[in-house]
Amino acid sequence: MTATLTRPALPPALTEGLDDPLPVTEAAPATEGAVKTKELVIVSESGDLERTWATTILASTAAAGEMKVSIFFTFWGLFSLVRPEVRVTGTNWMQKMLAMMNRPGIDHARLSKLNFAGMGPWMMKKLARQYGVAEPRELLEMAQALGVRLIPCQMSMDMMGISPDQLIDGVEPAVGAAAALELITNADASLFI
């Protein structure tokens, strides 16, 4: 499947130290010769901060290693793809209530433990800044710039009432479980996070 992607320009903080402006081009050319490009598929299911961190670190690092990387976002994982300015998703009261209780957007991910009404993630992000660790959103943007495919789950979109225009730029059209399984079974490694 081919898709035309618009990749977001990286924020200046991420490109400083790079002498050349970021070339926004298509994915790196396939390795010449007989070496097959390795493929990694990550199923992002949880949406928890620590798991979203793991997903974005592994995806960006694998793409940096010139692997073909796709992330399939399903259930709470789908909330990572919701645009930051979208406060509430959903069209009926139940969908809206779910989004009220669990704010969408990668910057609003919560810790699965020690969340303490946002105090835990706040401390975690403060520590991350102190130790030069990029936040999930920054890693996701870099992953996109390195050609990582972001694929939302159609069923999760329907069930939670999320429309494609509520998702960040560069996300591919939503697919179903069969398409996700095809990706997974053809990949060299797959992770369910």
């Binding site: 990286l10 960006s60 690092t61 990029a134």
Partner: protein
């Protein structure tokens, strides 16, 4: 002896895993084949990361050195 100039630099000092590698990968895409990229980092894990990354990608790790707390890598784009 041919002296080759460094085509681009990545300053990843103070940055943690995986930023040194990710920033290197972003920078090397803008270079031509054979160009040299210099990377400075302070992440102690970066030494093994750069060796592994060079093996996976096929970009040559020309030099891997350390000066005090700063690691320096010289990478040639394949």
């Amino acid at each position: 002896m041919t002296v080759q100039t460094i085509a681009a630099r990545v300053d990843a000092r103070g940055l943690s895993c995986p930023l040194p590698i990710v920033k290197t990968a972003l920078a090397i895409r803008g270079l031509a084949s054979g160009d040299l990229l210099e990377v400075l980092a302070t992440d102690p894990g970066s030494t093994k990361d750069f060796t592994a990354w060079s093996t996976t990608t096929g970009h040559t790790l020309v030099e891997s050195s350390v000066d005090g707390a700063v690691f320096r890598y010289l990478v040639r784009r394949k």
